[in-house]
Amino acid sequence: MMIRPFVLLLCLPLASMMQGPSGDEILMRVDKNMFSEQKIVESRMIIHGQRDTRTVESKSWQRGTNESYTEFLAPAREKGTKMLKLKDMLWEYSASTDRTIMISGHMLRQSVMGSDLSYEDMMEDPHLPNIYSATISSSEVIEGRECWVLDLKAKKEDIAYDHRQAWVDKERYLVLKENLYARSGKLLKTVDVREAMHVHNHWLAKSIIYRDVLKEGEGTEFHIDNITLDAEIPDYLFSKASLRR
């Protein structure tokens, strides 16, 4: 008779292990997989507008979550435009006018180069566990991959999207699909990962489609052509002076 409580005590951790990770734990692991301290990214943004499609090429240097420097390489009209993010501030340098402007307030809500992404989307804290608490709502198969469907609820009041749904690859801990909702529950934006890549033990999205669902159109494609993780990035890059270099 004394053996039964002992067996129960042994079985409890086992049972919790069999239950699988919690939503918050999954989010932490997603964050760990996706995050690297320093990276250099070369990418293409294909913007499908009402009348035409444009491709914007850029190179970004990112350090942590607070520092990011981006230089636009093409098309000719955007070439030389640079963006600098330092903590919660964002500056844009326009080569054609040789002017640096601070993007703040209402301007943060404007679209970046006519895409479905706003400046504010770019400024968002990429560490989702810092701003959302997650619960697992179900499991689904996306593009042949087993996924957890996480319901993310904002922990703070000043978060742009009150809640989100994220489809997380059970094996790779990569978010394959995301829905962003308004406070009323109306779907505002969707993010779909079309292609993944394995870089230095990290599973990352290589090709993504952002779509503002309230707007007609095919959305904005984002392709990563080259990525270097844990790269050495000089300090001078993250200063306003670097915008005019």
Binding site: Q50, I159, R183, S184, D212, K215
Partner: protein, 390 residues
């Protein structure tokens, strides 16, 4: 009394020459009065409509609000202070909450202003009762310009996206329950009106407003911390400046007309002095001084102005009265000039305008008539009698 009688007789005996000048000058009278009346009517009509529809008896603005800087709108909201809240409760003022928002009619993005107003207010002429008796979760009303531009009609559902007080996105469907027609584009263009309590609720700004509109002739309760009072002269200064600018543009036309009429008077005077040398010599030989001869000729010229005023009155009064009564139909494009005047404009002819214009034309005519007569001051009677002029 001899000089005026003589002057009058002289110009009447000049016949067709006089009447041509008088008719040309009378055109100037009528055109000046008509154009000035047009601009006064424009000012009067636009001012009345804007005050009725938006400005009331003045507005209190939340200190961050600047209608010319859309970036300030985000922060332009605050709880209504007690002194203004009392006015709102007494129905002596109406609170408006204004938030930047985005609508997606037919899948296209459009930036608008979402405005909250009490459906039961009677402070401004906006037909806010349209959004008062509807069962829709968020009833909205729009002006006819907005309806045309955004392709929205009564009964349509449109998704509106905004941010609440914390910056969190919210998006809901607004049912357009009414489309109103107004001459005031400031309450129509790129905006949707919804009940104030719903906007306060959905933006999580209970009891807050962007501006308080006082009723017409309402007395502002003095300084209110965090709010700035804007009186009617301040609110209407742009409209007045715009009308002034248009009036200056119009004055170029009638200045040209007046110049041509004055040229005719000047020409007539020069010709008179040249042709009537012997007459001048005779008048001087009979004892008239040079100044009296100058006075006579100047008076003849000035009588053109007076006769022109009489002729202008004969056909101008009935003509301008008809225009003032039935108004002038305006082209559709007038709406885009920023004047709240509607489809017809009714000119306003004030006594000051009529008396002022008559005085101005008569004075200018007299001056122009006097200028050529200065030659007479050097005239010798003997030369004049011989038909010479030095």
């Amino acid at each position: 009394m001899l000089a005026p009688k003589l002057a009058f007789r002289n110009i009447i005996s000049a016949g067709l020459r006089t009447w041509l000048n008088v008719v040309a000058l009378s055109f100037s009278f009528v055109v000046i009065i008509f154009l000035q009346g047009f601009y006064d009517g424009l000012n009067d009509q636009a001012e009345r409509s804007t005050v009725d529809a938006l400005y009331g008896g003045g507005q209190y603005w939340q200190e961050a609000y600047d209608p010319f800087d859309p970036l300030t709108l985000e922060d332009a909201h605050a709880p209504i202070p007690p002194s203004l809240q009392n006015l709102v409760a007494e129905k002596s003022a109406a609170a408006l909450l204004i938030r930047p928002a985005t609508i997606y009619p037919r899948g296209r993005f459009r930036s608008i202003l979402l405005k909250g107003i009490d459906p039961g207010q009677h402070i401004i002429s906006l037909p806010s009762s349209l959004i008062g008796n509807d069962t829709a979760l968020i009833p909205g009303m729009i002006g006819s310009r907005m309806s045309k531009n955004a392709g929205l009609n009564k009964g349509d559902l449109v998704t509106v996206q905004w941010r609440d007080v914390h910056g969190t996105f919210d998006a809901r469907d607004v049912t357009i329950v009414g489309v109103f027609s107004t001459t005031v584009s400031e309450i129509d263009n790129e905006q949707i009106w919804i009940p104030l309590d719903r906007l306060q609720q959905f933006t999580r700004m209970p009891g807050q407003a962007t501006m308080i509109v006082l009723k017409k002739d309402g007395i502002p309760p003095g300084n209110v911390a965090g709010w700035e009072f804007r009186d009617l002269p301040y609110l209407l200064r742009d409209l007045h400046a715009l009308v002034r600018m248009k009036s200056v543009q119009g004055s170029i036309m009638y200045s040209l007309l007046l110049f041509l009429a004055m040229l005719a008077i000047f020409d007539t005077q020069v010709l008179s002095i040249w042709r009537r040398r012997k007459e001048m010599g005779t008048l001087m030989a009979l004892g008239m001084r040079r100044t009296q001869v100058i006075g006579l000729f100047t008076m003849e010229g000035a009588f053109h102005g007076l006769l022109a005023a009489v002729v202008a009155a004969l056909y101008g009064i009935p003509l301008l009265a008809i225009v003032a009564n039935i108004g002038l139909a305006l082209p559709a494009a007038t709406d885009s000039f920023g004047f709240a005047i509607g489809e017809r404009l009714f000119p306003v002819y004030s006594p000051v305008l009529i008396v002022g214009t008559t005085a101005l034309v008569c004075i200018v005519t007299t001056i122009v008539s006097y200028l050529p007569t200065r030659k007479i001051s050097h005239l010798k009677p003997t030369d004049a009698l011989r038909g010479r002029i030095s």
